[in-house]
């Protein structure tokens, strides 16, 4: 069986944002979540649109237009949801990230991992 297309780093961030936002995944909310995940790097709204289009072409996500709202000047949102292919790509990415982490810990030691754990804890607040 041919392996499905994999997701690039920015694509992984967008897929994770859609996963965590559930029913509320649309341009503005996805961009905000991606910026949070990509910290300290910044991400533009345009880059998020380009990636969403590419993910839709790959069959990783699907989209539909919601009802218009007054907060948006009477315009609709384009909402996104993960498809089975996208979930699989994200699972593969998570497994790869885990393997990278385990290998780094193996080489640089558990003390280094603890130090990083503390830093992440502080960042998370």
């Amino acid at each position: 069986m041919a392996s499905p297309e994999s997701a690039g780093q920015f694509e992984q961030l967008v897929l994770t944002a859609i996963l965590s936002l559930r029913e509320d995944a649309y341009g503005v909310s996805i961009h905000a979540k991606v910026e949070e995940l990509a910290r300290p790097k910044a991400a533009s709204l345009g880059a998020v649109y380009v990636t969403l289009d590419r993910l839709e072409d790959k069959g990783f996500v699907s989209s539909w237009l919601s009802d218009p709202t007054s907060a948006r000047g009477g315009r609709a949102k384009r909402c996104y949801k993960l498809e089975a292919l996208g979930e699989r790509a994200l699972q593969e990415s998570a497994a790869t990230a885990k393997r990278i982490w385990d290998t780094i810990v193996e080489v640089w030691g558990k003390e280094w991992a603890k130090e990083w754990g503390k830093r992440w804890g502080k960042e998370a607040g």
Binding site: G27, R72, G73, R75, K77
Partner: protein, 185 residues
Amino acid sequence: MPAPPRVAEAIIGWLIPPVCREHVLGDLHERYRSTSQYLHDAMRTVPLVILSRIRRITDPQLLLMEAFALYLSFVIAAWWLGPASFLYEDWGLLRLAIPTAVTLLALILVDAYANPARRFSLKPALQAAIGISFAFLSQSILWTTGGEFAVPWKIMMYGAGGSLILISALRVFFAAPEIRPRGGA
């Protein structure tokens, strides 16, 4: 509730391809804090939205066929219309590539800005005509500036006629369903 200036919103809306207009304008509206922030946001977002739309809608095979058909039309017109020497002049073949390139670029933009919901049988011919009219526009600029790269108007006329037929036919038979007219192959 603060809202972006109507004129700015209308201009930006006009620049965004119709397929993406609704949600991109809505997102920009939702992020509005001040006019300068809105314009900055739009300037950073709209070009990427256009490029993404072009990437999604452009069919490289069709584009290659159109490039070949256009260039062939202009070369045949130049050869047919007598001064066959035009083809042997310095930069003769390159000069014929200018209307070809301009038409192709215009066709790419026409496709990106096409509304898939509006489909009618003459759409391919209309799109081809718009593309070719941009070639005439570029040539008229070259003619008025006395540029040595301008193509004689007679070659342009005949070449454009042939291109119109060939591009329309290619679009009817090979264009993606999104840009193909109803009832097309």
